[in-house]
């Protein structure tokens, strides 16, 4: 069995790997390395509760500092990795240290896409990735009257809710023709948009940004490609992310929109694994290659890679799920809903479940303020239940009766 496991990335996936290794009785050395100067922490609150005045970083920590020493996990924070020496089986850090490994787990996550327009570097143009960004955003919003958010994805939709709770005039600019287009069905996009409108947020679709306009204190507005100008004290750029697969690519590992891994989460090097936001894998539930950007995926893959490393070689098949809190709206989704060819909406605008089907087979749900449906669907799909659309229709889309 491996003696030393080195985990590159101190986020949700990396932390879970370390925890799961110990839970599975792995007695060798575990090193968990992250480039942020913090103990591993959760990111979901950064676009929600953590933006509220008075929020403390301590509430974000995934484990207390004492946990690592007690578990025999060597936690190295604020250290950056530069190169993987695959032949020598060590990881070279920026400070020159070379960390040896028997197994290397890449949990490097993603970085934000930049907005390549004039003015993007002005003060007041912010993005959100880590706790430090959230602190800066909280501070900027405390004095803001008007915010322009670029990108109507989950981050943009969540932060706009917070902006409105502060009474900030808020506009979202989206290049696509609907909200969270990559992730949710058109029906859910419509409900997400209605929720934004109810909060007083203006969302402009099919719009792209030509530049950020500057004023005395930094950013003063956004110039759209169609010539429209929007005034803004704060401009938030949340237009998606790119996987941090450069270190893998430089080491000759196969990458394509992420580090390519097989069903055991192994890269093209048998001693190197990749998990979480940075890994692209064949998902049996999607029937294709996907890279899932979610906390549940990070957790499940962290657990799975620990299983594989400790000798439990099995295929990764976890059912994907996700959640988003946007003001009073709670979105919960389970299953590969993006590949649905048919959807049935049950409920009214305030609380709805979008049942998703592919080839007449039930594949998932997108639930808006209907947590009971989400949990039931998750249990059914997780247990491998195969339900036909006809059957669900026959039971009136009551998941309790459907099982």
């Amino acid at each position: 069995m491996a003696e030393r496991v080195l985990i590159l990335g101190g986020g949700q996936a990396g932390l879970q790997t370390a925890v799961s290794l110990r839970e599975r009785g792995f007695a060798g050395a575990i090193t968990l390395l992250g480039d942020e100067p913090f103990v591993p922490y959760q990111r979901p609150p950064l676009s929600k509760d953590y933006l509220v005045n008075g929020a403390r970083f301590e509430t974000l920590r995934l484990r207390p500092e004492s946990f690592f020493a007690e578990a025999g996990i060597d936690l190295l924070t604020g250290r950056r990795a530069m190169e993987i020496d695959r032949e020598g089986k060590n990881l070279r850090l920026e400070d020159g240290t070379a960390l040896p490994y028997d197994r290397l787990v890449l949990a490097t996550g993603t970085r934000n896409r930049g907005l390549p327009v004039p003015g993007a570097n002005l003060a007041g143009v912010l993005s959100l990735k880590g706790a430090a960004d959230a602190d800066a955003l909280r501070q900027a919003l405390a004095n803001a009257q008007r915010a322009v958010i670029i990108g109507a994805g989950f981050i943009g939709l969540e932060i706009s809710a917070h902006c409105r709770s502060l009474g900030i005039e808020t506009t979202i600019i989206e290049a696509n023709n609907r909200a969270a287009a990559r992730a949710v069905s058109p029906e859910t996009s419509t409900l997400l948009l209605a929720n934004q409108a109810a909060m007083g947020v203006e969302v402009i679709f099919g719009a792209s940004v030509a530049g950020i306009l500057g004023g005395a204190g930094g950013a003063a507005g956004v110039l759209l490609a169609d010539g429209r100008r929007l005034a803004a004290d704060v401009v938030l750029v949340c237009i998606g992310v790119l996987p941090n697969d450069d270190i893998a690519a430089s080491a000759g590992l196969a990458v394509a929109n992420g580090v390519i891994v097989n069903s055991r989460l192994r890269t093209t090097d048998p001693d190197i694994f990749a998990i979480g936001d940075c890994a692209i894998f064949h998902c049996v539930n999607y029937g294709g290659e996907v890279r899932l950007e979610s906390v549940p995926n990070a957790i499940e893959q962290g657990k799975h890679v620990a299983a594989v490393i400790t000798g439990d070689e099995r295929d990764y098949a976890a059912m994907p799920w996700f959640w988003s809190d946007q003001g009073k709206l709670k979105l919960q989704m389970v299953g590969p809903t993006q590949i649905a060819d048919t959807r049935v909406v049950v409920g009214d605008g305030a609380a709805s479940t979008i049942f998703c089907f592919a080839d007449e087979r039930f594949i998932g749900v997108e639930c808006i303020n209907r947590p009971a449906d989400f949990v039931k669907a998750r249990r059914l799909l997780g247990a491998g239940a195969s339900l036909s659309r006809q059957h669900l229709e026959a039971v009136g889309y009551d998941l309790k009766a459907a099982a």
Partner: protein, 107 residues
């Protein structure tokens, strides 16, 4: 320091201390108490932090809201009158001595 006792399904008892402002779920995770999975990190989205609150304490807790109520219906172990999601139980000085029973499964 606020004492919380977690009784596992096999009867093993662990008493740990938590801080004011934390949650019963977070204290369990921080102190290595097994059986509370907390997949969603405390967002009332997964029902895997389910506990049975000792009858002596159940009425001293903040009431169940709509979201927690819906999630509890779908917890892995059977729902009982004293079922709560531990992520929705803030730790306060008034709860010093709290006892919760951890179900055998979180689903």
């Amino acid at each position: 320091m606020i004492n919380i006792t977690y009784v596992s399904a096999d009867g093993e008892t662990r008493t740990v201390t938590g801080e004011d402002g934390s949650t019963v779920m977070r204290v369990a995770l921080d102190k290595g108490v097994p059986g509370i999975v907390a997949e969603c990190g405390g967002s009332a989205m997964c029902a895997t932090c389910h506990v049975y609150v000792d009858p002596a304490w159940i009425d001293l807790l903040s009431p169940v809201n709509e979201t927690e109520d819906a999630m509890l219906d779908s917890a892995g172990a059977e729902r009982r009158a004293n079922s709560r999601l531990s992520c929705q139980l803030p730790v306060t000085v008034a709860l010093d001595g709290l006892i919760v029973h951890v179900p055998a499964t979180q689903g």
